[in-house]
């Protein structure tokens, strides 16, 4: 009998998601689940879902979960981890959740060096509420609350969270990856693996920012959205490791077009 070579990760529930066709949440849910499986962490993992498109993440990951108020996931994760340090705790948050309303919580969670992992989905827009401008929306990018494109004179420039968090002195693992090609997704999984491993070893706070697409609210087909991400977001949001707990190396190391670090 043929051996299955590609199966659903145990950490992913056997259900359909509500995500739009072409949304990259599906890719990143799967990568997180694969990492939890491969590191053998599922049974002691508690996730924290945000408010935003991934608000129902607790239905998609097959582990215990908390649903947090908008932006507060790092505080909720802090509470869980401090109460039960033996648990593996991760939050899964979008850009409105993490970089706008939840800015204080993410900065202080990282600065306290909470031993939790933050999976940060940056798709440069508010998805669930219908395509409003996010703190990460690109200059000139059209959104429903900046219909002529983001005006940096009025709204400032997009916030680079990985860079911002990596300026903190507290040891941490901070990386940015993307999912717009299979090769980049492989790299993203490696970043997630390192993040969860650092937590499992009790080393440090970890955050992986993942560049994502939103075909629905960007108003373009999925394949075109992947290209738009590459052309517009990659130059502004460089990929790489910004900080490791081992030393002061904060230089980004963009991955090469051939996928090598």
């Amino acid at each position: 009998m043929a051996e299955p070579v590609f199966i659903r990760p145990e950490s992913l529930s056997d259900v359909s998601t509500h995500y739009c066709p072409g949304c990259t949440h599906g890719i990143f849910h799967r990568l997180v689940a694969e990492v939890l499986d491969e590191l053998g962490l599922r049974e002691r993992t508690v996730g924290v879902a945000p408010v935003g498109c991934s608000v129902l993440a607790y239905n998609y990951f097959d582990c215990d979960f908390h649903e947090a108020a908008h932006g507060r996931a790092p505080a909720v994760a802090t509470g869980i981890k401090r109460a039960r340090p033996d648990l593996i705790v991760f939050s899964y948050q979008g850009d409105g959740d993490l970089a706008s309303i939840g800015m204080a919580e993410i900065v202080h969670c990282a600065n306290r060096g909470e031993k939790v992992t933050v999976v940060f989905i940056n798709n440069a827009i508010y998805g669930m509420t219908g395509g409003q401008m996010a703190p990460t929306t690109m200059p000139g990018q059209v959104a429903t609350t900046c219909q002529m494109g983001r005006d940096v004179e009025l709204a400032g420039y997009p916030i680079r969270m990985a860079e911002l968090i990596s300026t903190l002195k507290t040891p941490a693992f901070i990386a940015r990856a993307s999912g717009h090609t299979p090769l980049h997704a492989v790299n993203a999984k490696e970043m997630l693996r390192r993040a969860f491993r650092y937590q499992a070893e009790g080393r440090c706070f970890s955050m992986v920012e993942l560049l994502s697409t939103c075909p629905t609210n960007w108003g373009m087909p999925p394949a075109e959205a992947m290209k738009w991400l590459e052309k517009n977001m990659l130059p502004y949001y460089p990929l790489g490791v910004f900080k490791t707990p081992d030393g002061g190396d904060r230089a980004p190391h963009p991955i090469q077009p051939d996928g090598r670090d």
Binding site: V46, V55, Y58, H66, A68, R72, A75, G79, L87
Partner: protein
Amino acid sequence: MAKKLMKGSEAIAEAAVQAGCHLFFGYPITPQNEIPEYLSSRLPQVGGTFVQAESEVASINMLYGAAGTGERVMTSSSSPGISLMAEGISYIAGAELPVVLVNIMRAGPGLGGILPSQSDYFQTTKGLAHGDFRVLALAPWSIQEAADLIQDAFDLADYYRNPVMVVGDGLIGQMMEPVEFREDRRPIKELPPKTWASTGWKKDRPKAIINSLFLDPEELERHNFKLKAKYDEMEREEIRFAYYGPEEGELDVLIIAYGTVARVGLTALEELGEQGIRVGMIRPITLFPFPYEAIRNAADRAKHILVTELSTGQMIEDVHLALRDGRPLHFHCRLGGMLISPEEVIDKVHEILEGRSEEIRHG
């Protein structure tokens, strides 16, 4: 354990430790800073954890996370800080998590002042935050009672899987009195194991999802009715009050007051008794559930009713509700951090009896 002279805030903090609370998340605000300060050094001694959060918003959400794992948790704050926590308290009630909250009330609105007040009665009992929920509210009048109620609060929170708030005015936080912690204390409720807690899922129980989101209206309606059933049970089972004064016969005046204002009322009651004036007093200990029936019964044998509060008239609305009949009341208050003196209460009672006090009608 022998009696020990303790400041109210420290007694509250130690009572929490005695009740098995090993996690505290809080943010500094006057006049309750001695609670987090005490716990920051005390909790590590018992293997616990203290976290000074970046804001009240963060501390209530840390509490939400920690309570979801089944541990006993507490935070404390004062009025403006409780306002900031309101959203999180609503989520905690919606997700049915047991937490203990302490509000050492200061005068408002806005930044207001830092001195004692009871101006958060509405906030505590009626409109703490969005959505259809209640918190069980306990109002101590002494440091010993504050310590006792904190320990009861943990049992009640666990039993009902609901936030329990202990509200004291600034005096409860700041004054010093002898306190005794009973070593033989047993839980006041039968407490089931916390099988709902998120502790890592080995598939030996249903997956734990700590959540207040119900997108299906029928499911949310069922959830709302489930919550209401708990509040109804609190109203049947948890009403606490104390009565002081003549047990039988007609009263010239019935005083209704809670917290430290009731201690002032008791001093006045005793002095008026020596003057031959028959005064009784009802002191609500639970603000929600409120002792409507006890007040109604006592009012039946009183010629006049006087409500005293450190607010412009908040609890008095519940007294009107208790009496049902639109009966006029007398009211005396001090505001802004000013306190009511026994002399003021005595003078007010004389004014009432001499027909010089203006009556207050509702509706």
